[in-house]
């Protein structure tokens, strides 16, 4: 049985294609994007009643074009001119119909002139086909905030003089890198949502993976695109295991690996193996490789920590940051013992290569406990819990602190 495409999927596939078709016909990305958004809203209410048209994209293009002409006429009327100039801006280019609009729209949405929140909002709307309301629900902010980000982003694109063309190959690598950053941010936002809290946030991980797959289909030779897709797929495969029944965080070491999604893990491992063999290495690939090493261990004790430490050494060179240093310290502890890890953390703090981070105490607490210093570990867990910035994290850290208090036996 062939699966029937869901309405949402049809709409989302149609969004960037329709924008491309309209921009080529009418010019003005901002107005075309608005018109397509309205057509998608119309489709979402009409299709469930009237049935899904045979060619969903063509339907969206037709309705959006009509809307686009209305917008044009309204603008013209405001300028006290006649509506007959519609034809002036028409740029028919039948050959270009086959052009790859999804990639063009994605790279335009991630234009370097935009702030990151604007890139995220515009990408989800124009490439992802999500409505402003859906994006607002996912990010837990009012709809007006997202609407503002989208319109400001489009204004900036206009001001920057960006055109609706695929950037040249040299210029493309920077745009692709920005796009990868945006997709990863969308993924992380969804992945970090707590289990039962908000269903819409889960949609963000699905959406990020879908968009990364689209990007990979368009740039099959790009190692970092493959690396990011692998990283997302491997991380998402562990979703079911990472939160306990009490919604506290479950660390990797004690997760129930039987609940990991085997099929996704296989896909992710294959992707990263391909990337490492065929493309220059990059930070997403290294992170995916680390995730793959974890995936290949059937139980925590079977983890190949020396390999993970080697990968963190590479990652620290490629993209240094406090989270990389802290995660690397965990690997150091597994290979060389907790004392060595604590010494390295202290040294990094001392020489300024590690900035103070809200996770520092949490990592230190784990290392101190492994080193046998229960008292110090308990105090660190307590301090870490106070500094935690998410509920599940705080819950987990408080539990650890309580556990050590009770073992300590007053």
């Amino acid at each position: 049985m062939t699966p029937v495409p869901r309405l949402d999927d049809l709409l989302r596939e149609a969004a960037p294609k329709a924008i491309g078709a309209l921009v080529r016909r009418f010019g003005d990305f901002a107005a075309c994007e608005d018109a397509v958004q309205e057509a998608l809203l119309a489709a979402a209410t009409q299709w469930p009643v009237d049935g899904v048209p045979d060619n969903a994209t063509a339907w969206v293009v037709r309705v959006a074009s009509r809307r686009r002409i209305e917008i044009y006429r309204a603008d013209e009327a405001r300028r006290r001119r006649e509506a007959l100039v519609v034809a002036r801006d028409v740029r028919p280019d039948p050959d270009a119909e086959e052009a790859d609009d999804t990639l063009t729209v994605l790279l335009l949405c991630c234009h370097p002139a935009l702030t990151v929140p604007s890139q995220v909002a515009l990408t989800l709307r124009a490439v992802g086909g999500l409505t402003t309301a859906e994006i607002a629900r996912a990010f837990l902010v009012p709809e007006a905030t997202i609407a503002q980000r989208v319109s400001r982003a489009k204004q900036r694109i206009k001001d920057a003089g960006a055109t609706f063309d695929l950037p040249s190959l040299e210029a493309r690598s920077a745009s692709v890198e920005a796009a990868l950053g945006v997709l990863y941010l969308i993924f992380t936002e969804g992945h970090n949502a707590s289990a039962g809290s908000v269903v819409h946030r889960r949609d963000l991980t699905v959406e990020a993976i879908r968009l990364a797959r689209q990007l990979r289909a368009r740039l099959p030779g790009d190692g970092e695109v493959a690396g990011l897709l692998a990283l997302m797929v491997l991380t998402d495969a562990r979703r079911a295991a990472r939160l306990g029944l009490d919604c506290a965080m479950v660390p990797l070491a004690v997760q129930d690996r039987r609940t990991w999604d085997r099929e996704a893990l296989t896909e992710g491992v294959a992707l990263i193996q391909w990337a490492l063999a065929h493309a220059p290495v990059g930070p997403y690939q290294v992170q995916a490789a680390i995730a793959a090493v974890h995936a290949e261990a059937t139980h925590a004790e079977a983890t190949d920590w020396p390999q993970i430490l080697g990968l963190y050494d590479i990652l620290l060179r490629l993209s240094p940051g406090p989270m990389v240093s802290l995660n690397r310290a965990v690997a150091v502890a597994m290979v060389h013992g907790p004392r060595a890890a604590l010494d390295q953390l202290d040294a990094a703090l001392h020489d300024g290569t590690l900035a103070v981070h809200h996770r520092l105490d949490a990592v230190r607490a784990h290392l101190l406990e492994q080193d046998g210093d229960r008292n110090g570990a308990q105090q660190c867990f307590e301090r870490a819990a106070r500094r935690a910035l998410s509920m599940p994290e705080r819950q987990y850290l408080e539990t650890q602190s309580e556990r050590l208090k009770s073992i300590g036996g007053s």
């Binding site: 902010v141 905030t145 562990r238 660390p251 935690a388 998410s390 509920m391 599940p392």
Partner: protein
Amino acid sequence: MKYLILIYSNPMSRALWAGFSPTEQAAGFQYYAALTEELAASGELVVAEALADVATTKRVHLRDGQTLTTDGPFAEAKEHLMGIYLVQCASLERAVAIAGRIPEAEYGLVEVRPIMALGGSDM
């Protein structure tokens, strides 16, 4: 990340405000309106609200399933919460920079608190 910016008043800042001429007070409101407008335009504003006078506070108690209220003012608090900005921005540094532009910051009456996320990243 979301951050809550809390703006307090204290006896000194209240006396200062009371001493302003109507024109000066209007300029003060104008300044806040412009800041709010700017944050809305940058897409960082989630919500901004000014609170009614502390005298209008109702303290709520539940007694035997009955909701009772006591009226303010509650003189014991010298610093009163006057208003809030909820912003979503790139970093704590950015939130602090926004907070620094609130006039009350000059008197140490502005605080920034990170909002707890419902979820959390991998550990």
